[in-house]
Amino acid sequence: MVESSNNPRDKKLRATGYMLKPLWVTLRTMVRVSLPGHRPRTIMYPWEKSIIPDCFRGRPGIILDKCIACQKCVKVCPTTCIKMVQIEHETLGKVKRPEVNVGRCMMCGNCAEVCPTNAMIVTPEFELASYTRDDLIYDPIKLQHPWKAGYEINYEEQLPSNMKGPAAKKGSMELKDTVCLEAKKCISCSRCEKTCPTGAVKMTDTGEVNEKTKKPIKRPVFDDTKCVSCEMCVDVCPKDCLTMKEAQ
Protein backbone atom coordinates (compact mmCIF):
# COMPACT_ATOMS: atom_id res chain seq x y z
CA MET A 1 0.00 0.00 0.00
CA VAL A 2 3.04 2.30 0.20
CA GLU A 3 2.73 3.04 -3.51
CA SER A 4 -0.52 4.89 -2.98
CA SER A 5 0.91 7.32 -0.41
CA ASN A 6 1.94 10.77 -1.50
CA ASN A 7 4.95 11.03 0.80
CA PRO A 8 7.83 12.32 -1.40
CA ARG A 9 10.34 10.20 0.51
CA ASP A 10 8.76 7.04 -0.87
CA LYS A 11 10.27 7.75 -4.24
CA LYS A 12 13.70 8.64 -2.94
CA LEU A 13 14.13 5.86 -0.40
CA ARG A 14 13.07 2.30 -0.97
CA ALA A 15 12.03 0.02 1.89
CA THR A 16 15.64 -0.58 3.05
CA GLY A 17 16.32 3.14 3.47
CA TYR A 18 13.28 3.36 5.66
CA MET A 19 14.63 0.74 8.05
CA LEU A 20 17.81 2.58 8.99
CA LYS A 21 16.41 5.40 11.13
CA PRO A 22 14.43 3.18 13.53
CA LEU A 23 17.41 0.84 13.78
CA TRP A 24 19.60 3.80 14.61
CA VAL A 25 17.17 4.91 17.36
CA THR A 26 17.08 1.42 18.82
CA LEU A 27 20.85 1.01 18.81
CA ARG A 28 21.41 4.46 20.30
CA THR A 29 18.98 3.69 23.12
CA MET A 30 20.72 0.38 23.73
CA VAL A 31 24.14 2.02 23.98
CA ARG A 32 22.76 4.88 26.06
CA VAL A 33 21.32 2.69 28.78
CA SER A 34 24.34 0.38 28.98
CA LEU A 35 26.98 3.11 29.31
CA PRO A 36 28.37 3.60 32.85
CA GLY A 37 26.63 6.48 34.57
CA HIS A 38 23.34 5.79 32.82
CA ARG A 39 21.10 3.82 35.04
CA PRO A 40 18.76 1.33 33.41
CA ARG A 41 15.05 1.93 33.60
CA THR A 42 14.26 -1.32 35.38
CA ILE A 43 15.17 -2.39 38.89
CA MET A 44 15.90 -5.81 40.34
CA TYR A 45 12.63 -5.77 42.21
CA PRO A 46 12.62 -8.17 45.14
CA TRP A 47 16.17 -7.22 46.07
CA GLU A 48 15.98 -3.58 45.15
CA LYS A 49 12.92 -1.46 45.99
CA SER A 50 11.70 1.46 43.98
CA ILE A 51 11.67 4.85 45.70
CA ILE A 52 8.15 5.95 46.52
CA PRO A 53 7.05 9.28 47.99
CA ASP A 54 5.63 9.51 51.52
CA CYS A 55 2.23 10.43 50.15
CA PHE A 56 1.99 7.07 48.33
CA ARG A 57 -1.30 5.39 49.06
CA GLY A 58 -0.73 1.83 50.18
CA ARG A 59 -2.76 -0.02 52.77
CA PRO A 60 -4.47 2.06 55.47
CA GLY A 61 -2.85 2.21 58.88
CA ILE A 62 -3.98 3.39 62.28
CA ILE A 63 -2.52 5.19 65.26
CA LEU A 64 -4.55 3.64 68.07
CA ASP A 65 -3.90 6.41 70.61
CA LYS A 66 -5.58 8.95 68.41
CA CYS A 67 -8.65 6.92 67.39
CA ILE A 68 -11.94 7.93 69.04
CA ALA A 69 -14.17 5.30 67.36
CA CYS A 70 -16.35 7.83 65.57
CA GLN A 71 -16.98 5.36 62.69
CA LYS A 72 -16.58 8.02 60.01
CA CYS A 73 -14.19 5.74 58.11
CA VAL A 74 -16.77 2.93 58.19
CA LYS A 75 -19.36 5.17 56.59
CA VAL A 76 -17.14 6.61 53.87
CA CYS A 77 -15.52 3.36 52.66
CA PRO A 78 -16.78 2.67 49.11
CA THR A 79 -16.10 -1.06 49.37
CA THR A 80 -17.33 -1.45 52.98
CA CYS A 81 -14.08 -3.13 54.01
CA ILE A 82 -13.87 -1.41 57.41
CA LYS A 83 -15.66 -2.87 60.41
CA MET A 84 -15.59 -1.85 64.07
CA VAL A 85 -14.38 -4.56 66.46
CA GLN A 86 -13.93 -4.62 70.20
CA ILE A 87 -10.42 -4.60 71.61
CA GLU A 88 -8.97 -4.27 75.11
CA HIS A 89 -7.38 -0.87 75.71
CA GLU A 90 -4.83 -0.35 78.51
CA THR A 91 -6.61 2.55 80.19
CA LEU A 92 -10.03 2.80 78.58
CA GLY A 93 -11.03 -0.85 78.92
CA LYS A 94 -13.15 -2.33 76.14
CA VAL A 95 -13.22 -0.02 73.13
CA LYS A 96 -14.20 -0.29 69.47
CA ARG A 97 -11.55 0.20 66.84
CA PRO A 98 -11.58 -0.27 63.06
CA GLU A 99 -10.61 -3.57 61.44
CA VAL A 100 -9.76 -3.45 57.74
CA ASN A 101 -10.20 -6.22 55.22
CA VAL A 102 -7.17 -5.36 53.12
CA GLY A 103 -8.11 -7.97 50.53
CA ARG A 104 -11.11 -5.86 49.66
CA CYS A 105 -9.55 -2.43 50.22
CA MET A 106 -8.98 -0.41 47.05
CA MET A 107 -6.51 2.01 48.61
CA CYS A 108 -8.52 5.12 47.85
CA GLY A 109 -7.45 6.86 51.04
CA ASN A 110 -10.94 8.16 51.78
CA CYS A 111 -10.84 6.82 55.35
CA ALA A 112 -7.72 8.83 56.13
CA GLU A 113 -9.23 11.86 54.49
CA VAL A 114 -12.37 11.96 56.65
CA CYS A 115 -10.69 10.96 59.93
CA PRO A 116 -11.22 13.95 62.26
CA THR A 117 -8.24 13.11 64.49
CA ASN A 118 -5.89 11.85 61.75
CA ALA A 119 -5.77 8.46 63.44
CA MET A 120 -6.32 6.71 60.11
CA ILE A 121 -3.30 7.17 57.87
CA VAL A 122 -2.24 5.92 54.48
CA THR A 123 0.94 3.91 54.67
CA PRO A 124 3.30 3.31 51.76
CA GLU A 125 3.07 -0.47 52.33
CA PHE A 126 1.98 -2.16 49.13
CA GLU A 127 3.39 -5.69 49.36
CA LEU A 128 0.33 -7.28 50.89
CA ALA A 129 0.21 -10.72 49.33
CA SER A 130 -0.46 -13.58 51.73
CA TYR A 131 -1.29 -17.26 51.63
CA THR A 132 -4.77 -17.11 53.15
CA ARG A 133 -7.62 -14.67 53.08
CA ASP A 134 -7.73 -14.57 56.86
CA ASP A 135 -4.27 -13.03 56.87
CA LEU A 136 -5.63 -10.14 54.87
CA ILE A 137 -8.10 -9.11 57.54
CA TYR A 138 -6.07 -6.65 59.58
CA ASP A 139 -7.35 -6.27 63.14
CA PRO A 140 -6.66 -2.91 64.88
CA ILE A 141 -3.43 -4.20 66.46
CA LYS A 142 -2.04 -5.47 63.15
CA LEU A 143 -3.23 -2.34 61.37
CA GLN A 144 -0.97 -0.08 63.43
CA HIS A 145 1.81 1.69 61.62
CA PRO A 146 4.48 4.13 62.85
CA TRP A 147 3.61 7.70 62.02
CA LYS A 148 5.61 9.86 59.66
CA ALA A 149 4.87 13.31 58.28
CA GLY A 150 2.88 12.99 55.08
CA TYR A 151 1.05 9.80 56.03
CA GLU A 152 -2.07 11.59 57.21
CA ILE A 153 -4.22 13.43 54.70
CA ASN A 154 -4.85 17.08 55.41
CA TYR A 155 -6.66 19.39 53.08
CA GLU A 156 -7.90 22.95 53.02
CA GLU A 157 -11.47 23.70 52.08
CA GLN A 158 -13.46 26.77 51.25
CA LEU A 159 -17.08 27.36 52.14
CA PRO A 160 -19.28 28.17 49.13
CA SER A 161 -20.49 31.30 50.95
CA ASN A 162 -16.92 32.42 51.60
CA MET A 163 -15.22 31.95 48.23
CA LYS A 164 -12.95 34.97 48.49
CA GLY A 165 -11.88 34.47 52.09
CA PRO A 166 -9.04 32.33 53.43
CA ALA A 167 -9.32 28.56 53.19
CA ALA A 168 -10.11 26.65 56.37
CA LYS A 169 -8.13 23.60 57.46
CA LYS A 170 -9.70 20.19 57.81
CA GLY A 171 -11.60 19.91 61.10
CA SER A 172 -11.78 23.65 61.77
CA MET A 173 -14.92 25.19 63.28
CA GLU A 174 -16.14 26.87 60.08
CA LEU A 175 -16.29 23.65 58.10
CA LYS A 176 -18.06 21.67 60.78
CA ASP A 177 -21.52 20.24 60.22
CA THR A 178 -23.50 20.75 63.42
CA VAL A 179 -26.33 18.75 65.00
CA CYS A 180 -29.81 20.29 65.24
CA LEU A 181 -32.37 19.18 67.80
CA GLU A 182 -36.09 19.19 67.22
CA ALA A 183 -37.05 19.50 70.89
CA LYS A 184 -40.71 18.60 70.44
CA LYS A 185 -39.93 15.03 69.38
CA CYS A 186 -37.26 14.35 72.04
CA ILE A 187 -38.12 11.78 74.69
CA SER A 188 -35.02 12.40 76.86
CA CYS A 189 -33.69 8.86 76.41
CA SER A 190 -30.08 10.20 76.55
CA ARG A 191 -28.86 7.65 74.00
CA CYS A 192 -27.11 10.43 72.10
CA GLU A 193 -25.11 11.26 75.20
CA LYS A 194 -24.07 7.63 75.62
CA THR A 195 -23.01 7.10 72.00
CA CYS A 196 -21.12 10.36 71.48
CA PRO A 197 -17.42 9.39 71.04
CA THR A 198 -16.12 12.81 72.11
CA GLY A 199 -18.47 13.67 74.96
CA ALA A 200 -19.88 16.62 73.09
CA VAL A 201 -23.46 15.85 74.09
CA LYS A 202 -24.64 16.73 77.61
CA MET A 203 -28.14 16.10 78.91
CA THR A 204 -29.18 19.23 80.76
CA ASP A 205 -32.29 20.13 82.74
CA THR A 206 -34.74 22.37 80.98
CA GLY A 207 -36.43 23.34 84.25
CA GLU A 208 -39.69 21.75 83.19
CA VAL A 209 -41.16 18.76 84.95
CA ASN A 210 -42.94 15.85 83.37
CA GLU A 211 -46.52 15.90 84.59
CA LYS A 212 -47.01 12.12 84.69
CA THR A 213 -43.75 10.95 86.26
CA LYS A 214 -42.88 14.13 88.16
CA LYS A 215 -39.30 13.89 86.92
CA PRO A 216 -37.37 16.85 85.42
CA ILE A 217 -37.26 16.89 81.58
CA LYS A 218 -33.78 16.73 80.08
CA ARG A 219 -32.70 17.80 76.62
CA PRO A 220 -29.32 17.21 74.91
CA VAL A 221 -27.03 20.20 74.49
CA PHE A 222 -24.30 19.98 71.88
CA ASP A 223 -20.81 21.35 72.35
CA ASP A 224 -19.75 22.24 68.77
CA THR A 225 -16.07 22.64 69.63
CA LYS A 226 -15.88 18.98 70.65
CA CYS A 227 -18.21 17.65 67.93
CA VAL A 228 -16.59 15.82 64.99
CA SER A 229 -19.80 15.58 62.89
CA CYS A 230 -19.78 11.80 62.97
CA GLU A 231 -23.60 11.57 62.96
CA MET A 232 -23.63 8.68 65.42
CA CYS A 233 -26.20 10.47 67.60
CA VAL A 234 -28.36 11.07 64.53
CA ASP A 235 -28.25 7.36 63.69
CA VAL A 236 -29.02 6.19 67.21
CA CYS A 237 -31.91 8.57 67.97
CA PRO A 238 -35.11 6.47 68.28
CA LYS A 239 -37.43 9.37 67.44
CA ASP A 240 -35.47 10.94 64.56
CA CYS A 241 -35.36 14.29 66.30
CA LEU A 242 -31.71 15.00 65.41
CA THR A 243 -30.60 16.25 62.00
CA MET A 244 -27.32 17.50 60.60
CA LYS A 245 -27.06 21.13 59.59
CA GLU A 246 -24.36 21.48 57.00
CA ALA A 247 -21.92 24.36 57.00
CA GLN A 248 -22.65 26.41 53.89
Binding site: Y18, V25, T29, C55, F56, P78, C108, L159
Partner: protein
Protein backbone atom coordinates in the same frame (compact mmCIF):
# COMPACT_ATOMS: atom_id res chain seq x y z
CA UNK B 1 -15.71 -19.89 -2.34
CA UNK B 2 -17.57 -20.41 0.90
CA UNK B 3 -17.49 -17.75 3.56
CA UNK B 4 -16.85 -18.55 7.18
CA UNK B 5 -17.00 -16.89 10.60
CA UNK B 6 -13.75 -16.66 12.55
CA UNK B 7 -13.57 -15.69 16.21
CA UNK B 8 -10.76 -13.31 17.14
CA UNK B 9 -10.76 -13.26 20.92
CA UNK B 10 -11.65 -13.20 23.75
CA UNK B 11 -8.16 -14.62 24.22
CA UNK B 12 -6.26 -13.07 21.37
CA UNK B 13 -3.21 -10.78 21.42
CA UNK B 14 -5.04 -8.29 19.25
CA UNK B 15 -7.76 -7.68 21.84
CA UNK B 16 -6.61 -5.34 24.58
CA UNK B 17 -8.84 -6.50 27.35
CA UNK B 18 -11.58 -9.03 27.18
CA UNK B 19 -13.69 -8.75 24.08
CA UNK B 20 -14.14 -10.68 20.94
CA UNK B 21 -14.40 -9.88 17.27
CA UNK B 22 -16.23 -12.22 14.95
CA UNK B 23 -15.23 -11.73 11.36
CA UNK B 24 -16.78 -13.29 8.29
CA UNK B 25 -14.07 -13.99 5.77
CA UNK B 26 -14.04 -14.86 2.14
CA UNK B 27 -10.51 -16.13 1.69
CA UNK B 28 -8.47 -13.23 3.05
CA UNK B 29 -11.13 -10.56 2.57
CA UNK B 30 -13.40 -9.54 5.44
CA UNK B 31 -17.02 -9.46 4.33
CA UNK B 32 -18.65 -8.89 7.69
CA UNK B 33 -17.59 -8.19 11.26
CA UNK B 34 -19.32 -8.26 14.60
CA UNK B 35 -17.70 -7.07 17.83
CA UNK B 36 -18.87 -8.90 20.93
CA UNK B 37 -18.47 -7.29 24.33
CA UNK B 38 -19.85 -7.96 27.77
CA UNK B 39 -17.15 -10.18 29.25
CA UNK B 40 -16.19 -7.47 31.73
CA UNK B 41 -19.63 -6.24 32.71
CA UNK B 42 -19.55 -5.33 36.40
CA UNK B 43 -22.88 -3.57 36.74
CA UNK B 44 -21.13 -0.29 37.44
CA UNK B 45 -24.15 1.92 36.80
CA UNK B 46 -26.37 -0.17 39.07
CA UNK B 47 -23.68 -0.28 41.74
CA UNK B 48 -23.60 3.51 41.86
CA UNK B 49 -27.25 3.60 42.94
CA UNK B 50 -26.32 2.45 46.43
CA UNK B 51 -23.17 4.51 46.98
CA UNK B 52 -23.31 8.10 48.17
CA UNK B 53 -21.95 10.93 46.08
CA UNK B 54 -18.54 11.10 47.70
CA UNK B 55 -17.93 7.36 47.53
CA UNK B 56 -18.39 7.28 43.76
CA UNK B 57 -15.28 9.36 43.01
CA UNK B 58 -12.73 6.55 43.58
CA UNK B 59 -15.06 4.08 41.87
CA UNK B 60 -15.31 6.31 38.80
CA UNK B 61 -11.53 5.93 38.55
CA UNK B 62 -12.05 2.23 37.92
CA UNK B 63 -13.98 2.88 34.72
CA UNK B 64 -10.83 3.09 32.64
CA UNK B 65 -7.44 1.90 33.77
CA UNK B 66 -5.49 4.03 31.32
CA UNK B 67 -7.20 7.38 31.85
CA UNK B 68 -8.81 7.14 35.26
CA UNK B 69 -8.55 10.83 36.08
CA UNK B 70 -10.68 11.98 33.18
CA UNK B 71 -13.54 9.76 34.34
CA UNK B 72 -13.49 10.81 37.98
CA UNK B 73 -13.24 14.40 36.76
CA UNK B 74 -16.25 13.88 34.53
CA UNK B 75 -18.25 12.50 37.44
CA UNK B 76 -17.30 15.42 39.70
CA UNK B 77 -18.19 17.85 36.95
CA UNK B 78 -21.61 16.28 36.50
CA UNK B 79 -22.41 16.59 40.20
CA UNK B 80 -21.11 20.16 40.25
CA UNK B 81 -23.43 20.99 37.38
CA UNK B 82 -26.36 19.69 39.38
CA UNK B 83 -25.29 21.53 42.53
CA UNK B 84 -24.42 24.67 40.54
CA UNK B 85 -21.23 24.73 42.56
CA UNK B 86 -18.52 27.11 41.52
CA UNK B 87 -15.05 25.57 41.43
CA UNK B 88 -12.14 27.82 42.46
CA UNK B 89 -9.93 29.19 39.67
CA UNK B 90 -6.79 27.36 40.75
CA UNK B 91 -8.65 24.04 41.00
CA UNK B 92 -9.81 24.49 37.41
CA UNK B 93 -6.26 25.12 36.24
CA UNK B 94 -5.00 22.10 38.16
CA UNK B 95 -7.73 19.96 36.65
CA UNK B 96 -6.87 21.15 33.16
CA UNK B 97 -3.23 20.29 33.48
CA UNK B 98 -3.75 16.96 35.24
CA UNK B 99 -6.22 15.98 32.53
CA UNK B 100 -3.58 16.72 29.92
CA UNK B 101 -0.98 14.69 31.82
CA UNK B 102 -3.51 11.87 31.91
CA UNK B 103 -4.10 12.28 28.19
CA UNK B 104 -0.40 11.94 27.43
CA UNK B 105 -0.12 8.89 29.70
CA UNK B 106 -3.15 7.32 28.02
CA UNK B 107 -1.87 8.02 24.50
CA UNK B 108 1.51 6.53 25.44
CA UNK B 109 -0.27 3.41 26.62
CA UNK B 110 -1.97 3.23 23.23
CA UNK B 111 1.31 3.84 21.42
CA UNK B 112 2.90 0.95 23.31
CA UNK B 113 -0.08 -1.28 22.52
CA UNK B 114 0.00 -0.50 18.83
CA UNK B 115 3.70 -1.38 18.88
CA UNK B 116 3.00 -4.91 20.04
CA UNK B 117 -0.02 -5.16 17.75
CA UNK B 118 2.20 -4.57 14.76
CA UNK B 119 4.90 -6.86 16.07
CA UNK B 120 7.65 -4.54 17.23
CA UNK B 121 8.83 -4.97 20.78
CA UNK B 122 10.97 -1.81 20.79
CA UNK B 123 7.88 0.20 19.94
CA UNK B 124 6.31 -1.28 23.05
CA UNK B 125 9.17 -0.69 25.46
CA UNK B 126 10.03 2.90 24.62
CA UNK B 127 6.57 4.48 25.12
CA UNK B 128 6.09 2.41 28.28
CA UNK B 129 9.31 3.87 29.63
CA UNK B 130 8.15 7.46 28.95
CA UNK B 131 4.73 6.71 30.44
CA UNK B 132 6.42 5.87 33.70
CA UNK B 133 7.61 9.48 34.04
CA UNK B 134 4.04 10.76 33.91
CA UNK B 135 2.83 8.10 36.32
CA UNK B 136 5.57 9.21 38.73
CA UNK B 137 4.25 12.76 38.48
CA UNK B 138 0.77 11.52 39.34
CA UNK B 139 2.19 9.56 42.28
CA UNK B 140 3.82 12.68 43.69
CA UNK B 141 0.61 14.62 43.22
CA UNK B 142 -2.07 12.24 44.43
CA UNK B 143 -0.32 9.24 45.98
CA UNK B 144 -1.33 6.72 43.38
CA UNK B 145 -0.02 5.76 39.97
CA UNK B 146 -3.14 4.97 38.01
CA UNK B 147 -6.33 5.16 40.05
CA UNK B 148 -5.63 8.64 41.31
CA UNK B 149 -8.82 9.54 43.26
CA UNK B 150 -7.70 13.14 42.80
CA UNK B 151 -10.69 15.29 41.73
CA UNK B 152 -13.30 16.06 44.35
CA UNK B 153 -16.79 17.46 44.06
CA UNK B 154 -15.93 21.14 44.29
CA UNK B 155 -12.26 21.12 43.42
CA UNK B 156 -9.30 18.81 43.75
CA UNK B 157 -8.00 16.84 46.69
CA UNK B 158 -4.83 18.77 47.46
CA UNK B 159 -2.71 21.56 46.10
CA UNK B 160 0.39 20.89 44.00
CA UNK B 161 3.26 19.57 46.13
CA UNK B 162 6.47 21.64 46.31
CA UNK B 163 8.78 21.36 43.28
CA UNK B 164 6.08 19.60 41.27
CA UNK B 165 5.96 22.36 38.69
CA UNK B 166 9.71 22.16 38.17
CA UNK B 167 9.58 18.37 37.84
CA UNK B 168 6.73 18.53 35.35
CA UNK B 169 8.46 21.06 33.14
CA UNK B 170 11.63 18.95 33.16
CA UNK B 171 9.64 15.87 32.24
CA UNK B 172 7.94 17.75 29.41
CA UNK B 173 11.25 18.98 27.99
CA UNK B 174 12.64 15.46 28.04
CA UNK B 175 9.40 14.00 26.71
CA UNK B 176 9.30 16.25 23.66
CA UNK B 177 12.79 15.05 22.72
CA UNK B 178 11.67 11.46 23.18
CA UNK B 179 8.54 12.09 21.14
CA UNK B 180 10.72 13.07 18.19
CA UNK B 181 12.57 9.82 18.75
CA UNK B 182 9.25 7.96 18.52
CA UNK B 183 8.49 9.71 15.27
CA UNK B 184 11.80 8.45 13.92
CA UNK B 185 10.92 5.00 15.21
CA UNK B 186 7.39 4.86 13.77
CA UNK B 187 7.12 7.35 10.92
CA UNK B 188 10.40 6.42 9.26
CA UNK B 189 9.86 2.69 9.58
CA UNK B 190 8.74 1.20 6.31
CA UNK B 191 7.20 -1.80 8.05
CA UNK B 192 4.98 0.45 10.15
CA UNK B 193 3.96 2.57 7.17
CA UNK B 194 3.14 -0.47 5.05
CA UNK B 195 0.93 -1.85 7.81
CA UNK B 196 -0.99 1.35 8.51
CA UNK B 197 -1.15 3.44 5.35
CA UNK B 198 -4.30 3.00 3.32
CA UNK B 199 -6.00 0.48 5.63
CA UNK B 200 -9.20 1.05 7.54
CA UNK B 201 -10.46 3.86 5.36
CA UNK B 202 -13.46 5.63 6.84
CA UNK B 203 -14.67 8.98 5.57
CA UNK B 204 -15.59 11.87 7.84
CA UNK B 205 -19.37 11.90 7.21
CA UNK B 206 -19.46 8.14 7.71
CA UNK B 207 -17.65 8.47 11.07
CA UNK B 208 -20.09 11.17 12.18
CA UNK B 209 -23.06 8.99 11.19
CA UNK B 210 -21.68 6.13 13.26
CA UNK B 211 -21.36 8.46 16.28
CA UNK B 212 -17.59 8.16 16.55
CA UNK B 213 -15.75 10.79 18.54
CA UNK B 214 -12.29 11.71 19.72
CA UNK B 215 -8.96 11.07 18.00
CA UNK B 216 -10.53 8.34 15.88
CA UNK B 217 -12.97 10.82 14.36
CA UNK B 218 -10.32 13.50 13.98
CA UNK B 219 -8.29 10.88 12.16
CA UNK B 220 -11.22 10.72 9.72
CA UNK B 221 -10.62 14.43 8.99
CA UNK B 222 -13.44 15.84 11.12
CA UNK B 223 -12.45 19.05 12.87
CA UNK B 224 -14.25 18.63 16.17
CA UNK B 225 -12.96 18.73 19.72
CA UNK B 226 -15.05 19.28 22.83
CA UNK B 227 -12.17 21.08 24.45
CA UNK B 228 -12.53 23.81 21.85
CA UNK B 229 -16.18 23.53 20.81
CA UNK B 230 -17.75 23.19 24.24
CA UNK B 231 -14.96 24.32 26.57
CA UNK B 232 -14.95 23.18 30.16
CA UNK B 233 -12.60 24.03 33.03
CA UNK B 234 -9.99 26.41 31.59
CA UNK B 235 -9.70 25.14 28.03
CA UNK B 236 -11.25 28.37 26.73
CA UNK B 237 -8.25 30.32 28.04
CA UNK B 238 -5.46 28.23 26.55
CA UNK B 239 -4.34 28.18 22.95
CA UNK B 240 -4.14 24.84 21.24
CA UNK B 241 -4.65 23.35 17.85
CA UNK B 242 -7.23 20.67 17.13
CA UNK B 243 -5.23 18.01 15.33
CA UNK B 244 -6.76 16.44 12.25
CA UNK B 245 -5.32 14.51 9.35
CA UNK B 246 -6.74 14.27 5.83
CA UNK B 247 -5.77 10.65 5.08
CA UNK B 248 -8.72 8.97 6.90
CA UNK B 249 -6.78 5.73 7.40
CA UNK B 250 -5.00 4.04 10.31
CA UNK B 251 -1.89 6.13 9.75
CA UNK B 252 -3.94 9.33 10.08
CA UNK B 253 -5.27 8.22 13.47
CA UNK B 254 -1.73 7.49 14.59
CA UNK B 255 -0.61 10.95 13.47
CA UNK B 256 -3.53 12.67 15.25
CA UNK B 257 -2.61 11.09 18.55
CA UNK B 258 1.07 11.97 18.24
CA UNK B 259 0.18 15.59 17.41
CA UNK B 260 -2.20 15.68 20.36
CA UNK B 261 0.64 14.74 22.68
CA UNK B 262 2.64 17.76 21.44
CA UNK B 263 -0.41 19.95 21.96
CA UNK B 264 -0.93 18.55 25.47
CA UNK B 265 2.64 19.56 26.36
CA UNK B 266 1.81 23.11 25.20
CA UNK B 267 -1.38 23.20 27.23
CA UNK B 268 0.41 22.09 30.39
CA UNK B 269 3.05 24.80 29.97
CA UNK B 270 0.38 27.46 29.44
CA UNK B 271 -1.46 26.24 32.55
CA UNK B 272 1.62 26.75 34.68
CA UNK B 273 2.10 30.25 33.28
CA UNK B 274 -1.49 31.38 33.84
CA UNK B 275 -2.10 29.68 37.17
CA UNK B 276 -2.41 31.83 40.30
CA UNK B 277 -2.31 30.99 43.98
CA UNK B 278 -5.62 30.39 45.68
CA UNK B 279 -7.96 27.85 47.20
CA UNK B 280 -8.38 24.49 45.48
CA UNK B 281 -11.44 23.00 47.10
CA UNK B 282 -14.95 23.99 48.06
CA UNK B 283 -16.97 22.15 50.65
CA UNK B 284 -19.74 20.37 48.86
CA UNK B 285 -23.07 19.45 50.41
CA UNK B 286 -23.74 15.80 51.14
CA UNK B 287 -27.27 15.70 49.79
CA UNK B 288 -27.82 16.84 46.24
CA UNK B 289 -31.06 18.56 45.15
CA UNK B 290 -33.50 16.62 43.01
CA UNK B 291 -32.92 17.19 39.33
CA UNK B 292 -31.02 16.11 36.28
CA UNK B 293 -27.63 17.08 34.94
CA UNK B 294 -25.24 15.95 32.28
CA UNK B 295 -21.69 16.79 31.43
CA UNK B 296 -19.48 15.74 28.58
CA UNK B 297 -15.73 16.01 28.25
CA UNK B 298 -13.07 15.09 25.73
CA UNK B 299 -11.71 11.85 27.12
CA UNK B 300 -8.42 10.65 25.55
CA UNK B 301 -10.56 8.20 23.59
CA UNK B 302 -13.50 10.36 22.62
CA UNK B 303 -16.51 12.02 24.10
CA UNK B 304 -17.28 10.77 27.59
CA UNK B 305 -20.67 11.71 28.95
CA UNK B 306 -22.42 11.18 32.26
CA UNK B 307 -26.09 11.74 32.90
CA UNK B 308 -27.19 11.99 36.49
CA UNK B 309 -30.70 11.84 37.89
CA UNK B 310 -31.04 12.73 41.54
CA UNK B 311 -34.10 12.30 43.71
CA UNK B 312 -32.88 14.56 46.47
CA UNK B 313 -31.34 11.88 48.68
CA UNK B 314 -27.63 11.36 49.28
CA UNK B 315 -27.44 8.67 46.60
CA UNK B 316 -27.91 9.09 42.87
CA UNK B 317 -31.13 7.72 41.42
CA UNK B 318 -29.46 6.89 38.12
CA UNK B 319 -26.02 7.53 36.69
CA UNK B 320 -25.69 6.84 33.00
CA UNK B 321 -22.30 6.63 31.32
CA UNK B 322 -21.74 7.15 27.63
CA UNK B 323 -18.46 5.57 26.79
CA UNK B 324 -16.64 6.62 23.61
CA UNK B 325 -15.20 3.19 22.87
CA UNK B 326 -18.57 1.47 23.02
CA UNK B 327 -19.72 3.61 20.12
CA UNK B 328 -16.48 3.42 18.17
CA UNK B 329 -16.22 -0.35 18.39
CA UNK B 330 -19.86 -0.71 17.35
CA UNK B 331 -19.10 1.23 14.20
CA UNK B 332 -15.84 -0.57 13.45
CA UNK B 333 -17.34 -3.06 10.97
CA UNK B 334 -17.68 -0.15 8.52
CA UNK B 335 -13.91 0.31 8.58
CA UNK B 336 -13.16 -3.42 8.54
CA UNK B 337 -15.28 -4.65 5.65
CA UNK B 338 -13.23 -5.07 2.52
CA UNK B 339 -9.89 -5.22 4.32
CA UNK B 340 -7.62 -8.23 4.78
CA UNK B 341 -7.60 -10.39 7.91
CA UNK B 342 -3.98 -9.48 8.67
CA UNK B 343 -4.88 -5.79 8.82
CA UNK B 344 -7.38 -6.20 11.66
CA UNK B 345 -4.83 -5.42 14.44
CA UNK B 346 -3.70 -2.31 12.59
CA UNK B 347 -7.27 -1.06 12.27
CA UNK B 348 -8.68 -2.11 15.63
CA UNK B 349 -5.57 -0.97 17.51
CA UNK B 350 -6.23 2.61 16.44
CA UNK B 351 -9.50 2.59 18.38
CA UNK B 352 -7.51 2.32 21.63
CA UNK B 353 -9.81 -0.20 23.26
CA UNK B 354 -10.44 0.08 26.96
CA UNK B 355 -12.93 -2.48 28.16
CA UNK B 356 -13.44 -1.06 31.64
CA UNK B 357 -15.52 1.81 30.35
CA UNK B 358 -17.04 -0.10 27.42
CA UNK B 359 -18.65 -2.85 29.45
CA UNK B 360 -18.86 -0.89 32.72
Amino acid sequence: MTEMWVNMGPQHPMTHGLWSLRVKINGEIITDAEPMIGYLHRGWEKMMENRDYHQIVPLADRLCYASSLSWSHLYCKTVEDLLELEVPERAQWIRTLTLEIQRIASHLMWLAAIGTDLGSYTMFLLPMREREMFLDLMTDLSGSRMTTNYPRIGGVRNDLPPNWERDTLRVLNLFEKRLREFEALFDECSAFLMRTKGVGKLSGPEAINLGMTGPFMRGCNVDFDLRRDDPYEKYSEVDFRVCTHPDCDSYARYRVRIDEMYESCNIIRQCFQKMKQGPVRVKSPKAVPAGRAFAHVEDPRGEGLMYLISDGSDKPYRLKVRSPIFVIVSGMPAALIGEKVADIPAIMGMADMCLGETDR
